[in-house]
Amino acid sequence: MAEVIGGVATSHVPAVGVAIDKGRTEEPYWAPYFAKLEPLRKWVAELKPDVCVLIYNDHANAFSLALIPTFAIGLAESFRPADEGFGRRPVPDVQGHPELAWHLGETLILDEFDMTLVNEMEVDHGLTVPLSVMFGQPEQWPCPVVPILVNVVQYPPPTGNRCYRLGQALRRAIESYPGKERVLVVGTGGMSHQLQAERAGLVNPEFDRNFIDLLVDDPEAAAQISHTEYLREAGSEGIELVMWLIMRGALQRDVTEVYRATHLPTSNTHNGLLVLTDCGAQRNPAV
């Protein structure tokens, strides 16, 4: 039986990818942020997950307004980084895990979460930046990835509660897989940021701190935050935080907070990092 060995949440800011790809991580603007990644990277390196289930939203690259799946899962053998309008990121193709992905897709649908099944797609910064955040710049990514995509661009996105329950179903699906894979669940996006219109540049570190506190200790309450509250308090792109709830739902009710960091600014975003394990799971002494 496969098992969930931990959960990571991270923002997926495109400019972080650019900073890595162009070798700017030591520059004064970026160095303090990348220093905060070190405990996360060390933890993941020692954990050595066999596969990551990575939850992100497509930003008009794999999908467009022509087709808008609320939840989708990537089944392919590999996924090429997308040209998002300014060239492809110079990062390795992402290897999929078709057998696990098909199992998760089938199991989730029968568990009444109607996933859209995706055999061919390219992946954008929403997926590749979190891989860079966790793994740096390897020649090949160290493990295969099962992408789960959530619509947060077209309103209404799924509710936080729906996402939390999808995470719970995801855990059941992982645990019913006959392999022995040790699975790291990664929720991405957020934290507070707004890219559009006159309020562009809005961030709300207090909302974000409270969100992490709730996510860790009272996820049912975090799951009740409404779309309007995200829009108002966390900026129009802060709605991406619903994807952290999928990761949280894949862990047990009681968790151990292994690591937390935030950083302001990364481009337009209050950046958040969070590492959780099931309560009682072996805690990495290095962190």
């Binding site: 008009a60 309103y155 890219l195 309020r199 562009a200 409404s226 779309h227 309007t228 302001l264 337009n268």
Partner: protein, 153 residues
């Protein structure tokens, strides 16, 4: 916490949030062709074709005259008003070589240096920016209406 997301057909308070377009059904229907034009710029050959003949390229995408004008004149707020979504309009900005921070500066009518300085200084604060009813909501520089008039003019 609010319970205002229960009925998607009534306005769940979106209109009260200042300086923000919520990409709902109304905006999405209005902006479909505009956004799909922006989407086409993911293809480098299309970016070259657009740069070579912007007006000619737009003719293939059936934008409204207002949308086409806003594209050609790079009226970034007007594009949102006409149904553009920022992830799509950013593709037009990226085609011009702009970053998201440069687009943020353009949308809010400040220099890139001032915008970056605002972010380094802690970003745009939430206080005063939660609700259009807040007495000190005046927009980044001026009122939303005044800015629109300038852009439309």
């Amino acid at each position: 916490m609010t319970d205002d997301q229960t009925d998607p057909h009534t306005s769940p308070g979106y209109d009260d949030i200042p300086g923000t377009y919520v990409f709902d059904a109304k905006q999405s229907r209005k902006g479909y062709r505009l956004n799909m034009f922006c989407m086409s710029l993911n293809d480098p050959a299309n970016r070259d074709a657009f740069r070579a003949d912007e007006s000619g390229y737009l003719k293939h995408h059936n934008l409204s005259p207002e949308q086409a004008d806003a594209v050609l004149n790079r009226q970034w707020l007007r594009l949102l008003e006409l149904g553009g979504n920022v992830y799509y309009t950013f593709k037009l900005a990226a085609c011009d070589g702009m970053s998201f921070q440069q687009l943020g500066a353009k949308q809010t009518g400040v220099s890139e240096a001032d915008y970056v300085a605002m972010m380094v200084g802690g970003g745009r604060p939430i206080d005063g920016n939660r609700s259009r009813s807040e007495p000190n909501w005046t927009g980044p520089n001026n009122t939303r209406g005044a800015k629109r008039e300038i852009e439309h003019g």
